[in-house]
C-alpha cells in the first residue's frame, strides 16, 4: 500500500468516526442552538474534511464541506441562528459526505453523484439569513420534505435588530459580542491528540486466543508448582498467575463497547423520520454506558433501528391527533439499556397510540394466522405477541420508512439468532414498550462465588440482595415449614428457602444442626433465600451461553471461566426459583411411589398450552414435549384395545387427554369424551413420559409460553397436578402419568 493510500485510509476511518459525532451534534444544536462548544466542534469537523479533501484532490468532497464550513462560520459568529432548515441542509451535507466516502472506499473515486444542489442549498441559507442577496429561484433547490418552518424565539436578554431590507417573516438574533466572520474563520483550535487508537478486531480476536493459550500454560505450571517447595519458584508462579489473569481480563474488556455506540445514532434517525412523517418526537436515552461485546452491538443495530422506526412511524400520533386526545403535541421516545440477570436489556418505549389488541386479533384472523376459537381464548398479552408472527401486519397504511410492519418477525428472528428475545407491552392510547434481552457473550459482570456439592457456582451480583449466616442453633430453630415449604423469618418477613443441593440433585453433605449460609436473591421482584454450603468470594466473570445440549435446564444462565482457568456454572436465580416453587406444587408424589417415579416435575418455566378435545385450557412442560404433529384421522389404527399411529418407524400409542380425564373422574363423568371433532386432522402432542413416548390427542395447540407460575392452587380433580394462572388465565397442569395409568389395560376406555 502506497503512502497516499495509507493517508486516505486513515482519513476515511477518522472521518467516518467524526460523521457519527456530527449526527448527534447537529440534532443537539437543533434543541439548543446557542451551544457554542458544539458549534465549534461541528465547524472543526467540516473544516478538517475540507482541508484533507483539498489535499487529496477530492473536488466534490471539498465543495460540499466548504459550503458547510462557511455556514458554520456565520453560525459561530452569531450572525445567524441555527434552525431546522439549517439542520436539514447540514445533515444532507453529512449524507453527501458519507456517500462520497463510501464511493472512495469501494471504487477509489468520488463517484458520479451531483452534489452541487446540496452545496447551493447551504449557500442559499447562509446568504438568505443575512439578507445579502435575493433568494435563489425555488427550482434550483433540491426538493425537501414539507417542513413546518419556525423561527427560534430570541432569548429575552438579547436585542433584536432589523436588517436594512428585511422580509416581514424573518427574524434573527445577534450574539452579544459579534466577531467578524473573516477573523473567526482563522481561529481554529488544533485537534487534541486522541487518547485512543484503532485496533483491528481480528487482531483482538487473535490476542484473545493467545491469552487463552497462556492461561492453559499458566494452569499447567500451577499444577506442577504444587509438588515444589522452592519458595522463590512458588512466588514467581503466583506472580505469573496474577499477571495472566489480569491480562486475560484486560484483553476481554477490549472487545467490550458501550451500547451508546449504537444508541447515539438514533436521535438522527428519529429526527429525519419525524420531519418526514409530520410528527414531533423527543428522544431520551439512558444507560448508554452499558457494555456489550462488539459483535453483539453490530448484531442488534438493525433490529433496534427497525423497532424505533416503527415507534415513530406507527406508534406516535401526529400533533393534531395528540392534541385532540389531550396529549402534548410532542411525543417522546425513550431508549433504556441496563444489565439484568446476566443479560443486557434494551427497552424502547413511546407515548403514542399503543396497539389495539382488537385490531391485532381481527388482522390475525383475516390472515388466517389463528382460528376464532383460539383467538377467543388468547389473553391480551398473547394477542399483542402476534405482531411477531410472520405474515402479520398491523399498519393501516404503507410508508417508505418502515414498510407494513412485516419486519417485526425479522426483528425477532435477528434477535433470536444471537440468543436474544423480544417482548411487548402496550396500553391503547397511552403507548407501547418493547423489551429486548440480549445475552452477554463476553460480557463481564461481577458475581458471587458459592460452593455446593464440591463444585463452585457463580451468582450474578445484580440479583444479590444480602447474605445471611445462621449458626447451628438458629439454623435448627429458625427454619420453619409453611405447607411443606421451608421459610425463614428475615426481619419479620417470610423468606422462602431454596436448598441448592436439592435443586441440583447433588449429594447432600448437610447434617441436622449444621450452620446455614443463605444468599438472599431477587427473582421477578420476589426475594428468596438460596442455601449453599459455602460462600467463597466475588469475582468478575465472563458469562458464556450454554450449548443446545443443555436446553431445558433453567437453573443455569450460562458458564464462566474462573481465575484459575476452571469452568464454573452461572446460576439463574429466576430459573431456580421456578424449579423450587413448582416442585412444591406437584402432587405426583401423592399418587404413590410407582407413579411418582414416572412423574416428571415441571422443571422448566417453558410451557405448552393446549385445549383438550372436550374443551378447557391445560399445560404440560415444554421440556417433555418432543414434537407437535397433526395426523389424518385415517392414519390412526387400533392395536388390541389401544389407538396407535405409525410414527417415525415406530408405533406410537395415542391417548385422548379428555378421555383419560373422564376415566379418572370419581364418580365417573357422564359426559365422557367431547363431541367428535369436525376436522379430519388430529392434533397430537408427542410426549416423553419417563421411559416411554406417547401421543396426547388434543383439541388444539394454543401457545408456547414462559410463565413464573406465581399464582397457583390445588387441583380440583384427578389427572391434574395443580392449577395456576398462566398469562392471566386459569390453567390446569396435566398429570400425564396418572392418565397413562388410568388408561392401561384392562381398564382401557374406548376413545372412538
Amino acid at each position: 500500500m502506497s503512502p497516499d493510500d495509507e493517508i486516505l485510509r486513515e482519513f476515511l476511518l477518522e472521518t467516518h468516526e467524526n460523521l457519527a459525532l456530527l449526527d448527534s451534534d447537529l440534532v443537539k444544536l437543533e434543541i439548543n442552538p446557542a451551544e457554542k462548544s458544539t458549534l465549534a466542534q461541528v465547524f472543526r469537523t467540516f473544516h478538517s474534511v475540507k482541508g484533507t479533501a483539498g489535499f487529496m484532490g477530492l473536488v466534490k468532497l471539498q465543495e460540499v464541506s466548504h459550503a458547510a464550513e462557511n455556514l458554520l462560520s456565520k453560525l459561530r459568529a452569531g450572525e445567524i441562528t441555527f434552525n431546522p432548515p439549517i439542520a436539514t441542509a447540514l445533515l444532507r451535507v453529512v449524507d453527501a459526505i458519507r456517500e462520497i466516502l463510501s464511493n472512495i472506499e469501494s471504487t477509489g473515486v468520488e463517484g458520479s453523484g451531483d452534489y452541487t444542489g446540496v452545496a447551493a442549498e447551504v449557500d442559499r441559507l447562509r446568504q438568505q439569513n443575512v439578507g445579502e442577496s435575493k433568494p435563489l429561484p425555488a427550482t434550483s433547490a433540491i426538493p425537501a420534505p414539507t417542513l413546518e418552518t419556525r423561527i427560534e424565539l430570541p432569548p429575552p436578554a438579547s436585542t433584536l435588530e432589523i436588517s436594512e431590507s428585511p422580509s416581514a417573516e424573518l427574524e434573527f438574533t445577534f450574539a452579544d459580542t459579534p466577531v467578524p466572520s473573516g477573523e473567526s474563520a482563522e481561529k481554529v483550535t488544533s485537534h487534541v491528540a486522541d487518547a485512543a487508537i484503532r485496533v483491528d478486531v481480528g487482531l483482538l480476536d487473535k490476542l484473545m486466543t493467545l491469552v487463552g493459550e497462556l492461561v492453559l500454560a499458566r494452569n499447567q505450571i500451577l499444577q506442577h508448582s504444587q509438588s515444589h517447595e522452592d519458595s522463590g519458584f512458588l512466588g514467581a508462579v503466583q506472580q505469573l498467575n496474577l499477571l495472566t489473569t489480569e491480562l486475560q481480563t484486560s484483553v476481554m474488556k477490549t472487545r467490550m463497547q458501550p451500547i451508546g455506540n449504537v444508541l447515539s445514532k438514533f436521535p438522527r434517525i428519529v429526527r429525519d423520520l419525524s420531519v418526514a412523517c409530520g410528527k414531533q418526537v423527543r428522544v431520551e436515552i439512558d444507560g448508554q454506558e452499558t457494555e456489550l461485546d462488539k459483535t453483539l452491538i453490530e448484531a442488534i443495530r438493525d433490529p433496534l433501528t427497525h423497532l424505533i422506526r416503527n415507534a415513530v412511524d406507527h406508534g406516535i400520533e401526529p400533533p393534531a391527533v395528540r392534541k385532540s386526545h389531550g396529549k402534548p403535541e410532542e411525543g417522546w421516545l425513550k431508549l433504556v439499556a441496563f444489565h439484568e440477570g446476566g443479560k443486557v436489556i434494551v427497552e424502547i418505549s413511546d407515548d403514542g397510540g399503543g396497539i389495539d389488541e382488537t385490531k391485532v386479533r381481527d388482522k390475525a384472523l383475516k390472515a388466517n394466522l389463528i382460528t376464532a376459537e383460539v383467538a377467543d381464548r388468547m389473553s391480551r398479552q398473547d394477542l399483542l405477541r402476534l405482531i411477531f408472527v410472520p405474515g402479520f401486519s398491523t399498519a393501516d397504511r404503507v410508508t417508505q420508512f418502515s414498510g407494513r410492519g412485516v419486519g417485526m418477525d425479522v426483528v425477532r428472528t435477528n434477535l433470536e439468532r444471537i440468543g436474544g428475545t423480544v417482548d411487548i407491552e402496550s396500553t391503547p392510547g397511552q403507548g407501547t414498550t418493547i423489551r429486548t434481552k440480549i445475552p452477554l457473550t463476553l460480557a463481564i459482570i461481577p458475581a458471587l462465588i458459592v460452593a455446593s456439592g464440591g463444585e463452585r457456582y457463580a451468582i450474578p451480583q445484580v440479583n444479590l440482595l444480602e447474605l445471611v449466616w445462621l449458626d447451628a442453633e438458629h439454623a435448627q430453630h429458625g427454619i420453619e415449614r409453611l405447607h411443606g415449604v421451608p421459610v425463614y423469618r428475615l426481619r419479620g418477613k417470610l423468606l422462602p428457602l431454596v436448598f441448592l443441593d436439592e435443586q441440583l440433585q447433588l449429594a447432600t453433605l448437610r447434617k441436622e444442626g449444621d450452620e446455614l449460609n443463605i444468599v438472599v436473591l431477587q427473582a421477578d421482584e420476589r426475594p428468596f433465600g438460596l442455601v449453599v454450603e459455602a460462600i467463597r468470594d466475588t469475582e468478575e466473570i465472563v458469562v458464556k451461553p450454554l450449548q443446545k445440549l443443555f436446553k431445558g435446564i433453567s437453573a443455569f444462565a450460562g458458564a464462566a471461566i474462573m481465575g484459575d482457568g476452571r469452568v464454573a456454572l452461572v446460576l439463574d436465580p429466576v430459573g431456580l426459583a421456578q424449579r423450587a416453587s413448582v416442585i412444591s406444587g406437584a402432587r405426583g408424589r401423592a399418587l404413590g411411589e410407582e407413579t411418582a417415579e414416572i412423574t416428571t416435575p415441571i422443571e422448566s418455566h417453558a410451557l405448552l398450552l393446549f385445549a383438550p378435545t372436550a374443551g378447557g385450557r391445560m399445560a404440560v412442560p415444554l421440556a417433555d414435549v418432543a414434537r407437535l404433529e397433526e395426523f389424518s384421522r385415517s392414519r390412526l389404527e387400533s392395536l388390541g384395545e389401544r389407538l396407535v399411529v405409525q410414527y417415525r418407524g415406530e408405533i406410537l400409542p395415542l391417548l385422548d387427554v379428555s378421555a383419560g380425564l373422564a376415566a379418572l373422574a370419581v364418580p365417573p363423568s357422564p359426559c365422557g369424551p367431547g363431541p367428535a371433532a369436525l376436522s379430519d386432522l388430529v392434533s397430537v402432542v408427542v410426549y416423553d413420559a419417563g421411559a416411554e413416548r406417547i401421543g396426547l390427542i388434543v383439541g388444539a395447540i394454543l401457545d408456547i409460553v414462559n410463565d413464573p407460575l406465581a399464582i397457583r392452587a390445588l387441583a380440583n380433580r384427578e389427572g391434574v397436578l395443580f392449577t395456576a394462572v398462566v398469562h392471566d388465565q386459569v390453567t390446569e397442569f396435566l398429570d400425564v402419568a396418572a392418565l397413562i395409568e388410568a388408561t392401561k389395560p384392562p381398564h382401557l376406555h374406548s376413545v372412538k
Partner: protein, 149 residues
C-alpha cells in the same frame, strides 16, 4: 454411500473407532471437568479449552459401554459442530488411517437398538475392525430429565 476416506481413530473398551478426520478439530489430553447437574448422563461436564468453554461427552456412556476404571484419565477428541466445539472423552488415541472403499460394510442389523444408531459402518482392516461413528448423532443429545442409562 460415499464415506470420507481418512479417519481419526481412537479406542473404547479395546474396540477401535473412527471419526471423519475433517470433523476433528484437535485432540487434547485430560482436562479439569466441571459437572453440570441435571444434564444428560452422557454429558460429563464442561472444560476450558484455551478460553473457550467446551462440552465434554462421555463416549462410553453414549455408546452404552461399561464405565472406565476410575484411575484412568480419558482423552479429549474435540469436534466442530453447528453449536460450537464439543469434546468426546475416549480411552486412547490411535493413528489417522486412510482406508479404501472395498473394506467397507454397512453395520449388521443386530446392532440396531443398543448403539447402532451411532454407527455408520465398519471397515475390515487386516488386524482389526474399524467402527465408523456418525458425529451428528453422537452430539445430538437432548436434555431429558427422566432419561435412564
Amino acid at each position: 454411500m460415499s464415506l470420507p476416506q481418512q479417519f481419526c481413530t481412537f479406542y473404547l473398551a479395546g474396540q477401535c473407532y473412527g471419526l471423519d478426520v475433517l470433523r476433528v478439530q484437535e485432540v487434547v489430553r485430560s482436562q479439569p471437568l466441571t459437572s453440570v447437574p441435571l444434564a444428560h448422563p452422557a454429558v460429563r461436564g464442561l472444560i476450558n479449552l484455551r478460553g473457550q468453554i467446551v462440552t465434554a461427552i462421555d463416549l462410553r456412556r453414549r455408546l452404552h459401554l461399561p464405565e472406565l476404571a476410575e484411575i484412568s484419565e480419558p482423552l479429549n477428541i474435540v469436534l466442530q459442530t453447528d453449536d460450537g466445539a464439543v469434546s468426546l472423552l475416549v480411552d486412547d488415541i490411535g493413528d489417522v488411517l486412510e482406508v479404501s472403499q472395498e473394506q467397507f460394510e454397512l453395520p449388521p442389523e443386530t446392532l440396531q437398538g443398543a448403539a447402532g444408531e451411532f454407527i455408520q459402518g465398519v471397515y475390515k482392516l487386516s488386524d482389526r475392525l474399524l467402527v465408523i461413528l456418525d458425529p451428528e448423532r453422537i452430539v445430538a443429545i437432548t436434555n431429558q430429565p427422566a432419561t435412564k442409562t
